[in-house]
Every structure is written in structure tokens, then in C-alpha cells.
Amino acid sequence: MKYIDEFQDPGLARRLLDDIRASVTRPWALMEVCGGQTHTIIRHGIDQLLPEGVELIHGPGCPVCVTPLEVIDKALAIAARPEVVFCSFGDMLRVPGTGKDLFRVRSEGGDVRVVYSPLDALRIARENPDRQVVFFGIGFETTAPPNAMTVYQARRLGIRNFSLLVSHVRVPPAIEAIMQSPSCRVQGFLAAGHVCSVMGTAEYPELADRHRVPVVVTGFEPLDILEGVRRAVRQLERGEHTVENAYPRAVRTEGNPAALAMIEDVFEVTDRAWRGIGTIPDSGWRLSERYREYDAEHRFPVSGIATREPEACRSGEVLQGLLKPHQCEAFGTACTPRTPLGATMVSSEGACAAYYLYRRLGTAPARSPQPAPQPPLEASPVV
């Protein structure tokens, strides 16, 4: 119960923990799907506050982390072209491709720009009709509607010098792949709240039933996580496996119908490679035939790029919950936020970055401290 005072409502946190403790009769392993949830868990030491035997396993829910090396290399090749303005979200700048990253491409003269919204990239295309503006369209179900709308608007407004390098991924097929792995230990899921804000909860009952796993839609505050764990454990102890929404303030059963309709119009489901994991059937979206002319891969010749994964990086196992970040030999030594081997260390939502930032270094020695955004480290439980 140490450090519980830093919760926004310590009394409620204590009650939730007491309730979890009272209901647990044997060990359970739950996976939190979203990287944002992972950061809350590590920052507040929630995994250490839980009763012994209740384990939280970090899932693959970081879009930056799972974007495959091949796509990063395609982005680097397109961004280096003199006629291209390459637009991206800021957290892609330092994701390592084979040999370099977008930050380096810019230092070598590439016109790489960071935007807050994909609509900003469309505005840049309108303002620069003699340039080719390419937006790096990665992300889960939360990012797909904004990117879909941007392509829809490009078509509607007749903007032809805009294209999307698409690498969208979907959560439910990833959960399916994790459950089908012979080494899977996951018995319940804390589903990603904001993904469900868009998609609703309709994709999960069949999955929960088939694999007999509880799925609890969970938010991002410390108390949200505790409530998600409480509900999942309660189901497991009772032998239940249903879908519960523990984040009703932002998630409706039906999701966002307008966003779903736009996804349906602009994208189609496709197999997608996940970095460190491999190809998962039906786990992504690409532009549908109607919008194919806005596909950057059709506009620029980027196929056949030779990629080279760093051998020491075990991010694939981290993303599948098979390995904790500090159990990787390279963690904190060959791999740090300054010299990342894989995206799980470079992304602000990556599990390795969370462990590094909050000093969950395991047995590895603490290296040069990175700028931690005001976490009171002395108040954080550390291993």
C-alpha cells in the first residue's frame, strides 16, 4: 500500500485494491492492450500494489512500436526524395529504420515536417501545389478515422498532390494472435478505451466467448486501471468471460458511427506485418480501390527495400507479453532512448521506454538518466 497516497482518490484506490485482494484465490495474468495504460501502470506502480499472483502483462498497443521496419524504410526513402514534403506525427521522428531515422533524413536535407493533425498535411499540400505531400498514416483504430477523413477531403477538394503511406493496424486480430500463441499466458484483457471510443464493443463478445477470456474496456487513469483489474479478476474467479465496459464516460457500445462509416468507405481490411511479431491475418487497413490513387506506395517506387532488424532487439517478445523489458540483455545498455534498437524504446508509449523512464531497470545498472517529464522519482516504487 506504499505510495498509494499519490492517487487522485487514495481512499477509492484503497477500496478497489482491498476488493481485488478479497476476491483473489489463485494467480491470474491480465494483459493491458494499450501503451498509454502501460505507462500509467508503471508510473504509479499499480503492478506492485496488486496482490501477489495478479500479474499485468504489457500488450502490443503502441502504434509506433508495431509499425514494421519495412514501412519505416519506405517512409525514409520517400522522405528523402527532393520533390516530397514528408509529414508525420512527432513520435515517428526517432523510430529507427535500417540505418537511420526521419530525424536524420531531415538533417540530410529531406523536407520532413511534423504535424499535429493529418488535416495539417492536407493544408500543406494545398499551399504547395508544386510539391508532393505525403502523410505517414500509422496507428490503431483511433487514428484511422482522422486519416480516412483526410483522404476523403483530398478527393472531395480535388487535391492531387497529397498521398498517404498507410500502415494501419487493428486490435482484435492482435488479441486473436496472442491467444493462439502456444506460449500465451493471458487469461483476461483490459481493452484499450480510446480504440473502443471509435469501434464500440461489438468486436469483442465473440472473441471473449471463443477464448473464454474476460474483456474489460478500460480507461487510462490509475483508478480506471484498478477498476478494470477488479472486474476482470471478479469474472475469472467466477468462471465468467464476458465483455464489460468500465470506461462508459468515453465509450458507447456502438462506438462512433460516423467514424466507422468513414473507415468503411476509405479503407479495406488487409493482412499486416507487425514489427517483431510477424504478419497477422486481417490485422490492418489499406486504402480501398476507390482511393488507391492516394496511396503513396502506388505513387512512389518503394518496393524491394532490403531491411535489417537489429539482432539484439527482443521487442517482438516484449510486444507479445513474453518478456519484460528489463529482462532483455540490451535494455539500459546497448538500448536506451538515446540509442534505441527498437521502437518499444523510442516511442513515448512503448513498454521499454516506460521501464526506462520510471527506472524499472531490473538488475541492469541505471545509465545516464533521460529527461523524465516531472515524475517524482523518489516517490515512485522502483524495483
Binding site: G61, D91, L93, M149, Q370
Partner: protein
């Protein structure tokens, strides 16, 4: 970028036939597309992701989440200067060839907080 941030609608207008709003995220004001929540009104809160309002949120939840994100440094990650951050991570003094106009704009907005 995966994390959506709650914001409060300040003003609603139209741009190129698209419903847009000025939205306040704890001091940083951004243009946000309302096409997916067309009935959102001035003063209401919504979960916003990469410039798009995705779901309505009540005021108390929005305030609490904003406080948490501020505490975790996530607002700085979302709205701070990405080039500065990348340069710090890369261990170099400045951005590779100076901050572009977008990055400068972002940094300026972040400082308003």
C-alpha cells in the same frame, strides 16, 4: 500520439465545407475537426485525437484526465516541440536544420500553457 486528450470547445465554424472548432486543452488551443461529432456544442468536452473529436466527455472526467496527463508529462509530449524532443533524445543541441514552421507553431502554443 495514440492517446486521445480531452478538450473544451471554445468556438465552432466551417472551413472548406468541414465543421471545425477551436478547442482548449488545458491552455493549448488547437483547431479540431467536428465531422465525427457534428452535434458537439460550445462549452462541451470531447475526447480529441490528432485533431479530431471522437467522443463526448463530461466535464469532471475531462478535467481529471487533463490533470493526469499534465502530471505524466503527456500534454508536453502531445503539444510540445517534437524537434526539440527528438534532438534531446538524439543527444544533439538543436534540431537538424532548425525547426520548421509547424514545429515553431507547436512550441509557441505549448508555451502559452
Amino acid at each position: 500520439m495514440c492517446l486521445a486528450v480531452p478538450g473544451r470547445v471554445l468556438e465552432i465554424g466551417e472551413r472548406d465545407g468541414t465543421r471545425m472548432a477551436s478547442v482548449d486543452f488545458g491552455g493549448v488551443v488547437k483547431e479540431v475537426c467536428l465531422e465525427y461529432l457534428p452535434d458537439l456544442r460550445v462549452g462541451e468536452y470531447a475526447v480529441v485525437h490528432v485533431g479530431f473529436a471522437l467522443q463526448r466527455l463530461d466535464e469532471e472526467s475531462a478535467r481529471r484526465t487533463l490533470e493526469l496527463f499534465e502530471e505524466l508529462g503527456m500534454l508536453q509530449e502531445e503539444f510540445g516541440d517534437p524537434w526539440e524532443r527528438a534532438a534531446a533524445e538524439a543527444g544533439v543541441q538543436d534540431g537538424p536544420s532548425g525547426a520548421g514552421p509547424e514545429a515553431e507553431g507547436t512550441a509557441r502554443e505549448a508555451r502559452q500553457r
